[in-house]
Subunit: 339 residues, 2 copies
Amino acid sequence: MRIIVDVLGGDNSPNAVILGAVNALEAADDFSIILSGDEWTIKEQLQVIGYVGDRITVLHAPEEISCNESPTVAIKRKKESSLVKALRAVADGEADAIVSAGSTGAVLAGATLIVKRIKGILRPGLAPILPSEKGPFMLIDCGANVDCKPEYLQQFAIMGSAYMSKVMGIENPRVGLINNGAESKKGNELTKATYSILEETPGINFVGNAEAREIMTGAFDVLVCDGFVGNVVLKYTEGLAMSLVNMLKVELMGDTRSKLGAAISKPAYRRFKKRMDYTEYGGAPLLGINGGIIKAHGSSDAKAIKMAILQAREYLVGNVTETISTYLADAAVSIDKDN
Amino acid sequence: MRIIVDVLGGDNSPNAVILGAVNALEAADDFSIILSGDEWTIKEQLQVIGYVGDRITVLHAPEEISCNESPTVAIKRKKESSLVKALRAVADGEADAIVSAGSTGAVLAGATLIVKRIKGILRPGLAPILPSEKGPFMLIDCGANVDCKPEYLQQFAIMGSAYMSKVMGIENPRVGLINNGAESKKGNELTKATYSILEETPGINFVGNAEAREIMTGAFDVLVCDGFVGNVVLKYTEGLAMSLVNMLKVELMGDTRSKLGAAISKPAYRRFKKRMDYTEYGGAPLLGINGGIIKAHGSSDAKAIKMAILQAREYLVGNVTETISTYLADAAVSIDKDN
């Protein structure tokens, strides 16, 4: 297995990305890494880290795509960029999966334009893994498609089920549809139409509508929604968690007694922080593409990159691309008209 | 000012509702209350509480509308219900505002069918007040309209601005549009179209797109979205806050040292809980109706009912209905075709 890593994307690139790659190698010995980026910088950094093995190779790609560029234009023009060259390597079969902490828009556009969709898939879905009270769950789609048709959501359910069973080892993952009420008749035009389609989709375990208050309870393994709603839920999770922690902090620092108690409770706060830490869960797979595509968080540190690389490895070990194809054929929902 | 209270709605009706009404009277002496519900039950409960004043009258309405009925059917058929009779009283000018903790769907349908929209308003918006890091903000719409047109969102912005300036005393309230990115070009079809309309709406202070991670930071006074997204945000706020608190609790109880610290920090936890307590902010006004409509939370206790009644009073003191009409005329966005 060969995983290619875009070292020029993200807030902490390239050094944290390179370090994360080196550290990932220690976790398993069945894969190699290609680092895509400026050759000289990468080699220098590998020397600084002291890496001397033969499991890392370098793909020279000096250009960088920033978050401020139009993704489609950048993908088409910047042929020497670390992202485009890495995606090209996956498309050409020189690598099996890619990890990038770069511009989400560019990763989405590039994966679709260069690596291409799995046959029958209408739209790929960006699908981060989030913590719940009982264990991780997948939220799909989180921004790849802001205007959706019911058939896209149906495929998100299929792809999410494939991933959660193959990579996370969840038997018969429970699929929920994010809706404005638990009753089957609730919803806007999109979710009402999606509900009836999901009910009749073979091979998935659709358990019904998910009210937003249940998102974090652990009652679902795959939560399906359009990319606009998913983006709101994803960013609100980060923002609300941070705001609540800030508000609690203000109160804990508000009187001497509480302050003392907070100092004593430090081990619990540390565990809580670890549990809420997105880096524990790696990045967000972009499902529906002919290869493993892991979008790491833009602010990823070395540890987050390491986890994202190991997630790419698990994607490959689990044969997720092939499983999605099989599930799609089984559900007989491959619709080619949009391809 | 006469505020009519539907005593048969909500999880804790009728006793908590009646007690809340009695307690509300102590906070100001410029309003009276009509209790809509079974006369005998109300009078008995008033006797239990020991209320002997003359500021409470009773409107006998023995029927109850439950959350399991079709709202529109229930409103049309149950003419003797506490909700329908209360709404009728507002429509007939016998009361100026209503507070109900009953079925949200029935309150929305009933207000629109019986009390009717303000002239020029296309759709009313359900608009709860939520806590942020810096102070309360309004989220509009939260479920009255799951499929929206840009013009509805424009009117939500106008109505929210009227309420926040008149009732909450915020000068020039900052209006944000919930979107999947801060940049002006971001969005789905609805939010892209809404953005350009909001930019050109006179009389409101539109400050741009609000990414979901900013919802709780206090950067906006009025957050505008369609009712589907608003419902997700509202319920996720409750659910995520509860899940995070549960997760933190598990960790705080996870070792003896942390447990001790938590006991010592109790004053801070108590303040935090109070700050997050939705009952502090009353209920959700339904804006755009010819009268004050306050939807109290279904699980309201006596204190939440009291706060909702005082909120109805503030709605009337602030002349919100009239202000909305004025703002609408000023913005010249009154569109009658849908009325």
